[in-house]
Amino acid sequence: MATPRADDWSWFPALALGVSFLKCILINAYHSTDFEVHRNWLAITHSLPVSKWYHENTSEWTLDYPPLFAWFEYSLSHVAQHFDKEMLVVQNLIYTSPATILFQRLSVIVTDIVFIYAVKECCRSVREEKGSKDLLGHPFFILAALLLWNFGLLIVDHIHFQYNGFLFGILLLSVARHLQGRHLEGALLFTVLLNLKHIYLYIAPAYGIFLLRSYCFTKDNTDGSVRWSSFSPVRLVALGSIVISVGALSFGPFIAMGQLPQVLSRLFPFKRGLCHAYWAPNVWALYNMVDKALSVLGVRLKLLDVAKLPKASMTGGLVQEFQHSILPSVSPSITLICTLLSIMPAVLSIWCRPRGARGFLRCLVVCALGSFMFGWHVHEKAILMAILPFSILAVESREDAGIFLMLTTTGHYSLFPLLFTAAELPIKVLLMLLFTLYSFTSLKKLFRLTIGFLVTSLTKALLPRLLSLAGRAALGGVLVVPNFFHLRMMEATVFLGPSML
């Protein structure tokens, strides 16, 4: 191939098209119940008036995303009716005609264009050292490949089925705008994102503090601390009006109809239990496991009466509320406090010593990780909220690259239980190998990482896998990962491989 020059971006469409083709041949792969969830929402928004959207519960998969996403489904439903009108009937539960599958899959693939655009913008904002490198060694090429071909996003969106591509596209675009200094646009994009999927509340603290500190205060003192005199009310008002107007657009109709409490109860279903159906490898999963282990031990040692223990199992793979047997039960407020404590150092840091947009990005990742570790009813897919933005930092700094490799390998591996069918096994193994091999070799070349460094990273990431192979009924393994946050504030993060209890 006539090696494309670095300033010739023809390779970008090639990468984007390549992954899109792959997504297209995965159209007929396994899809999870999330497919039916979205079909149901298409039906609800198309066939019912707005006042019924958050009350409708014919199907168990009720609408539990904010109103802007409901409007998104509504607009999709207008295209859907040309594929198969039957999918828009609310009573047609678990309706999966070939046309329905084709439409839904294509809608994810097409809306990914937002993600592709966002990746392009991120690549343009990447810092790199000058010097002729061949195309494959440029940071922006590596970033594009790591984002566009991200294993987690591919299997969650295009096999398991969700719309994360376009949502993460908006997030990455917002980050890119902040990196480019266009803060109002970034704020607007994030507000829209929050009104599309409220899980991004996890990272709202980073946005809030960063914008307040670095945007509303226009100048800093020479030592980096706050210069209170440089506060700009105009900017604050601008930000406020953005948040309020988007919120009004989204929730306005429902507030007017007096449905706000109902909507909020749908958005924040605390009855769902501490842990999601599949094990998000976070602190509470470990907590549950310790509790279970202790109760089993207690029964064996005759310290406890079996009859008095709660019968249900947290590890059963179902979404329910449970009480712990031995350790104190955990309520939503406790998880909130733990989360806030875990992100406090990072957030304080960007207030006291802001490091510009990159410091904000780092804080964002810490918030995502902290919320993942300590949050209530966390999905394992939420790890993507840390992995994707972190990719930008990974191609700019050596240390970040090492941590990134560990984070992605473990994080992606923890997504394996999402695809449990035999037919999809080769796909997830091959794609995981593809992504892991690429990320390791490209970052190694970029930063001249040593073999020793890589072996340690890889071992730390795969140790749970090895342990889980060795111990049948035992725990998958416990991995302690030192946090990457530079200012000597170390958080011990506990990662858990898939357990076989």
């Binding site: 191939m1 006539a2 090696t3 023809s10 090639a14 098209l17 390549g18 083709f21 792959l22 297209c24 041949i25 995965l26 159209i27 007929n28 792969a29 084709l102 494959l136 060694g137 035999a422 037919a423 999809e424 080769p426 796909i427 091959l430 794609l431 190998l433 593809l434 091999l437 690429y438 070799t441 490209s442 070349k445």
Partner: protein, 476 residues
């Protein structure tokens, strides 16, 4: 990035694409009573596992040959026996075969026998692995072509590296897996014979000839060992492999006879024997120039071209050709991707298109569209196909004005293929002509194949016997 990591990434991507295609429908899915090729493979596992060897090819109470009787040579039967022992997920076996046989051959070919920078070699690996025809037939329709084609490719690679005896061994194994490899046999024969002549029949040449002959005979004997005890066995197997009673062609296939049949109903006018002689004569005439040239100049470049010309000629003029046999010329054309990118891409796309009616029957429309688009896009982009359109690059010394027409014709042709594909899916044929679209597809493909046969023949014949020109790179 180092070569090994780039190549591994290409291979992993190729494997992923293959497996993803297998997640779609397959031949005969849910279509009783005969089902399709998937059922055929499963049946052969049954037959080889449960019955003794001497009953495999015979019509007995336990083995009804009308229900997917075994009609491939013994190696296929042994392979079915092997698969029968672990009747897990059959598509796994295709993937394993690809990984062990076909893909290593492709990688070795690209790195040792093709020219250009390392980047170009990696791109060649990727483009060959993305060829839609083989992916769709092996993983969609369900067959094991990657074994026979892979072994044949091993033969080419090993011969290219200079190990003649091993090369002939690989090819004989390939032949004993699928008898269609006979399409490739003449070039192998002429190349090896030509090499023997070049080394002098009075000395080393004769020795080489004897070595090769012995290898071939011994390999054949080993493969057919269980059947050698009884001449009746051998005859029956041959009878199953070459069903001459079945007529000039079946269904719609993009060759001369089927296309001619549109104008003159030769199937009804001529008797079966006349048809046989007619096809035999035309085939021989078509392969003669290429084979003689190869005999006179046994180089790797001539060998590759002869493989294309010979198998394509067989496809176009031979007896009882099936549309899947286009894979036989497609393999050597893949080897030309590096040297003559645009004609090769054109042929490979046309070959995929020619099998469209088969894919539609198997419910493989989406994989067909996606893999074709992916192949076209990546091969044109990575191999810079349109930059290699000058008359020198196309080696069309005598036809000077032609190259300027090529890009336009290429676009027109691809658009027409897309249009015909769309029509085959979206429109219903008129009642008087129920086979209209398959016929249009096969005739359109036939015209391409004929034109490309002429082109590749010109390229092969026009090359001078002694490499006079200094800038002539292909002269090993």
């Amino acid at each position: 990035m180092e070569n090994w990591s780039l190549v591994s990434i290409c291979v992993l991507f190729g494997l992923t694409a293959r497996w993803a295609v297998s997640l779609n429908s397959y031949s005969g899915a849910g279509k009783p009573p005969m089902f399709g090729d998937y059922e055929a493979q499963r049946h052969w596992q049954e037959v080889t596992y449960n019955l003794p060897v001497h009953e495999w090819y015979f019509n007995t109470t336990d083995n009804n040959l009308n229900y997917w009787g075994l009609d491939y040579p013994p190696l296929t039967a042994y392979h079915s026996l092997l698969c029968a022992h672990d009747h897990g997920f059959d598509f796994c076996w295709v993937l394993v075969a690809d990984l062990l046989i076909y893909i290593p051959a492709v990688v070795l070919y690209s790195f040792y026998l093709s020219e250009g920078s390392n980047k170009k070699k990696v791109c060649t690996v990727l483009c060959i692995l993305l060829y839609p025809g083989l992916i769709l037939i092996d993983y969609g329709h369900f067959q094991y072509n990657s074994i026979s084609l892979g072994l044949a490719l091993w033969g080419v690679v090993v011969l290219g590296l200079g190990w003649d005896v091993l090369g002939s061994l690989a090819f004989v194994l390939s032949l004993n897996y699928k008898q269609m490899e006979l399409y490739h046999s003449l070039p192998f024969f002429c190349y090896l014979l030509g090499k023997c002549f070049k080394q002098g029949l009075a000395g080393r040449g004769l020795f080489l000839l004897v070595k090769i002959a012995v290898t071939v005979l011994v390999t054949f004997a080993l493969c057919w060992l269980p059947f050698l005890s009884d001449p009746g066995q051998i005859l029956q197997v041959v009878h199953r492999l070459f069903p001459v009673g079945r007529g000039l062609f079946e269904d719609k296939v993009a060759n001369t006879w089927c296309s001619l049949n549109v104008l003159i109903k030769i199937k009804t006018i001529l008797s079966t024997d006349t048809q046989l002689y007619f096809s035999l004569t035309t085939t021989l005439l078509a392969i003669l120039p290429s084979s003689i040239k190869l005999l006179m100049k046994p180089t790797l470049w001539q060998f590759k071209l002869a493989l294309v010309n010979s198998s394509l000629a067989f496809f176009l003029f031979s007896f009882q050709v099936h549309e899947k046999s286009i894979l036989l010329p497609a393999l050597p054309v893949c080897l030309l991707l590096n040297d003559l990118p645009l004609p090769a891409i054109w042929f490979l796309q046309a070959s995929t298109f020619s099998m469209l009616p088969l894919f539609l029957k198997d419910g493989l429309l989406v994989p067909y569209v996606v893999t074709s688009l992916a192949f076209l896009f990546f091969s044109i982009y990575l191999l810079s196909a349109f930059e290699h359109c000058s008359e020198d690059k196309l080696r069309l010394g005598c036809l000077r004005h032609l190259p300027s027409l090529i890009p336009g014709s290429f676009y027109f042709s691809i658009t027409a293929m897309a249009g015909l594909s769309f029509m085959s899916v979206a429109l219903a044929p008129p009642d008087q002509l129920p086979d209209l679209f398959p016929l249009l597809v096969s005739v359109f493909s036939y015209l391409h194949f004929l034109g490309l046969l002429l082109y590749f023949n010109i390229v092969q014949i026009a090359e001078p016997l002694q490499s006079v020109r200094k800038n002539q790179k292909k002269s090993n």
